[in-house]
């Protein structure tokens, strides 16, 4: 039996999971419209590849991955693209994001799918396939999976940790997936194992899901894989990557390092499942399992198409009349969906209908009494009350000294705080302020560098020009001196005559003088051009003239004409009042 370790802190909130595990995963019916956001994962925003009016098939690429860390997006069903436009995002801000609106045709017709044999292909090809299939971390972080599947050259891969802990209350989508589709999960883990070549594979599941543990153990045994399926103690946040790694391997990942630096890589069970579908069935990620629970008549897990609007999805569960909102994610880390039009996305693991009875409004925040409870439960051993103090005072430098970026926003501290301080909200605020400032600073540095560069370039150009002019002047002077010397020594024709002759003498007989003539011609041409240009621009002092002044000008012009003098260019029509 594997020795287990403990992570620091953590809390035991009510799990509220039993409500939604009673029924098997249901397949959600086709919604009337789908709004598929192009940006659904960390990294580059995929470029739209379809236009309004186009017919698409299920699984057809509609957003091409942009850059290596980016994942493609596909049409969740067959139908017609109605628009590629901004649509409200599944995001706490309620802002919009570029989305592809698809009207399903009801046929759910797949595009041609080509399975690959991952064992026979080079690892790059397999990673490429996962990228094209839009496989991302479905535990919530939505980091493109292929980006985590390159074994480090310096650190040998020791453990591959598969995360089936699902520690957050209410959420049961991974539990049901493990119960019903264990074999495909195990095969997907096999793909990861083949790419990373770790010494051990550990699958961690919280011990409140015995059915899932049994199912995965059976599947691993059936497929002859020696994966260790381990029940870990139920304690929030055991499903945090660093916490699960700690529990299973005893390795403490310091904040300055990534788990791969210690030879550990971690994936979610649902990610392994979609990876297997992509490899063995050629199916891109077009749907996911979403728990619908909370204040609804029929809590259950649904396999729903990505892009399903919230309103149509929650109708499946029958929200009770006193429902006053919907959370995406769990009660600890989730956020309120902005509108009923917001779509389900790859990161949506759970929708909780809330009601005043279920989540009573918090009593107002009280001053911090520095009881230290928050520090006791923080799994990252931070000092939330100090962080809170500095975040509240907007002293962001200090929050960084107290390691605010180690905070995983797990919400344990807010959960235990007797003064009901929304600590995590302060931390999110501080983090996004710091990020914004960093961005501004980078932009300013870049602007400064570019400005200095441009200034230097202009100086250089000026210097070069001056040098050229100086050289030309020197040459001219030298030539003049030589000519004068020649005239004096040879006592040839007088100088003015020579200059006169220069214009008529053919080029071949007198090259230096000819060059002189060409230059003169060029200067004359330039003068002519300058004159023409002056004529083309309106003089500054003649716009906005009063009618009286105009009359004066007309009179002057008339007199001039009489005297046979050319009139100066007048201002164009539109500048006259």
């Amino acid at each position: 039996m594997l020795q287990l370790f403990k992570f620091k802190g953590g809390v035991k909130p009510q799990t509220n999971k039993t409500q939604s595990v009673g029924e098997p995963i249901g397949v959600a019916p086709l919604p009337s419209r789908l709004f598929v956001p192009l940006h659904q994962s960390i990294g580059g925003t995929p470029r739209p590849l379809v236009a309004a009016g186009e017919r698409v098939l299920k699984g057809q690429l509609i957003g091409g991955a942009d850059g290596w860390i980016s994942a493609a997006v596909h049409a969740p069903t067959s139908g017609t693209v109605r628009a590629v436009a901004e649509h409200v995002a599944a995001h706490p801000s309620g802002l919009t994001t570029l989305s592809v609106e698809i009207e399903p045709d009801g046929r759910d017709e797949w595009i041609e799918r080509t399975p690959i044999d991952h064992g026979a292909l080079a690892p790059e090809r397999v990673r490429e396939r996962l990228r094209e299939a839009g496989v991302v971390g479905l535990g919530g972080a939505v980091f493109p999976t292929h980006g985590k599947l390159t074994a480090s050259k310096t650190v040998p891969m020791e453990e591959l940790v598969i995360n089936g802990a699902e520690c957050e209350p209410y959420i049961t989508c991974d539990d049901l997936l493990m119960r019903e589709r264990a074999e495909e999960i195990v095969r997907g883990v096999g793909v990861f194992r083949d790419l990373l070549q770790p010494k051990r594979v550990l699958i961690g599941i919280e011990d409140n899901k015995p059915e899932a543990v049994a199912a995965l153990q059976a599947a691993a045994a059936k497929l002859g894989e020696n994966f260790a399926v381990v029940a870990v103690p139920t304690r929030y946040p055991a499903g945090g990557a660093k916490q699960l790694i700690r529990v299973l391997t005893g390795k403490e990942v310091p904040s300055t390092k990534r788990s791969t630096d210690l030879g550990v890589q971690c994936f979610n069970v649902a990610t392994a499942y979609t990876a297997w579908r992509a490899v063995a069935h050629g199916e891109p990620v077009v749907s996911r399992i979403v728990t619908l629970t909370g204040n609804v008549e029929r809590p259950r897990n649904w396999e729903a198409l990505l892009g399903t609007p919230l309103a149509e999805f929650v109708a499946l569960g029958g929200p009770k009349p006193d429902t006053d909102g919907y959370l995406m994610g769990g009660p600890m880390m989730g956020f309120a969906m902005p509108t009923m039009d917001a779509p389900l996305v790859k990161a949506t693991n759970c929708i909780i209908a809330s009601s005043p009875a279920l989540f009573p409004p918090k009593a107002p925040e009280m001053p911090c009494i520095r009881c230290g409870e928050c520090a006791k439960v923080c799994p990252h051993e931070l000092q939330p009350f100090e962080l809170y103090w500095f975040a509240r005072a907007k002293n962001f430098g200090k929050t960084q000294e107290y390691h605010i970026f180690d905070c995983i926003e797990c919400g344990c501290c807010s959960f235990v705080c007797p003064s009901r301080i929304p600590l995590v909200q302060y931390f999110r605020f501080a983090k996004s302020e710091i990020w914004a400032r960093e961005k501004e600073k980078n932009a300013a540095d870049q602007a400064k560098a570019r400005f200095e560069w441009k200034t230097a370039r202009e100086e250089r150009e000026k210097a070069e020009k001056a040098e050229k002019l100086a050289k030309a002047a020197a040459a001219q002077a030298a030539k003049k001196a030589a000519e004068a010397a020649a005239a004096a020594a040879g006592e040839a024709a007088p100088a003015p005559a020579a200059a006169e002759a220069a214009t008529n003498v053919p080029a071949a007989t007198n090259p230096p003088l000819d060059a002189e003539a060409a230059k003169k011609a060029a200067i004359a041409a330039a003068l002519e051009r300058a004159r023409a240009q002056r004529a083309a621009v309106e003089p500054k002092n003649v716009d906005r003239l009063t009618p009286a002044q105009q009359k004066d000008i007309a009179e002057v012009d008339a007199r001039r004409q009489q005297a046979g003098i050319e009139a100066p260019p007048t201002a164009p029509e539109e500048s006259q009042p």
Partner: protein, 180 residues
């Protein structure tokens, strides 16, 4: 007595030499305060402060020739930070604060005169003579210097609104108890 004086004198000579050496060896280039002031300025290089760029303005502040509230892109926050750095009093900004915007060239109208390229202090415009010009939005600082030179008025300033990339979590609102 003599030895004591000799020892003290020797100590003075040695320490003096060490200090002299250190002052040469660890000489600080430039004026550190100017650098600090400049680090606060937004580097928009727009000249709205009346100086030909952020660096000259920083130098003017350092010399006490300029007030600290002349930089509109820096906004009230910039004034606040300058005041904190220099220990001066916070003053209201000597201009109205505008939301950040970036320039946009109407590519249908652009005649390719290159005048805007010459005006842009950060080389954020790409184009060539008689070719359509365009602005690289990531590099544009929003200084508006390219707007007046354009002979066909095809450059406009487009405010950047809130989007998912620059959205920030708000400061938690503290509920106040209702007054009975």
């Amino acid at each position: 007595m003599i030895t004591a004086i000799a020892i003290m004198a020797l100590g003075a000579v040695v320490l003096g030499a060490a200090l002299g050496y250190a002052s040469i060896k660890f000489k600080v280039e430039g004026d550190p305060l100017v650098e600090k002031i400049e680090a606060i300025l937004p580097q928009t290089q727009c000249g709205q402060c009346g100086y030909p760029g952020c660096r000259p303005y920083a130098e003017a502040i350092n010399k006490g020739e300029a007030d600290i509230n002349l930089c509109p892109p820096g906004g009230a926050e910039g004034v606040q930070r300058l005041a904190d750095l220099l220990g001066r009093e916070v003053k209201p900004l000597d201009a109205e604060e505008k939301p950040k915007a970036i320039a946009f060239i109407d590519e249908q109208t652009c005649i390719g005169c290159t005048l805007c390229i010459q005006a842009c202090p950060v080389d954020a415009i790409v184009g060539a003579a008689k070719q359509m010009h365009t602005i690289v939005p990531e590099l544009c600082t929003g200084c508006e210097l390219c707007v007046p030179p354009c002979p066909v008025e095809c450059i406009s300033m487009e405010p950047i609104g809130e989007n998912l990339d620059n959205w920030k979590w708000k400061y938690p609102v503290i509920e106040l108890k209702k007054v009975a």
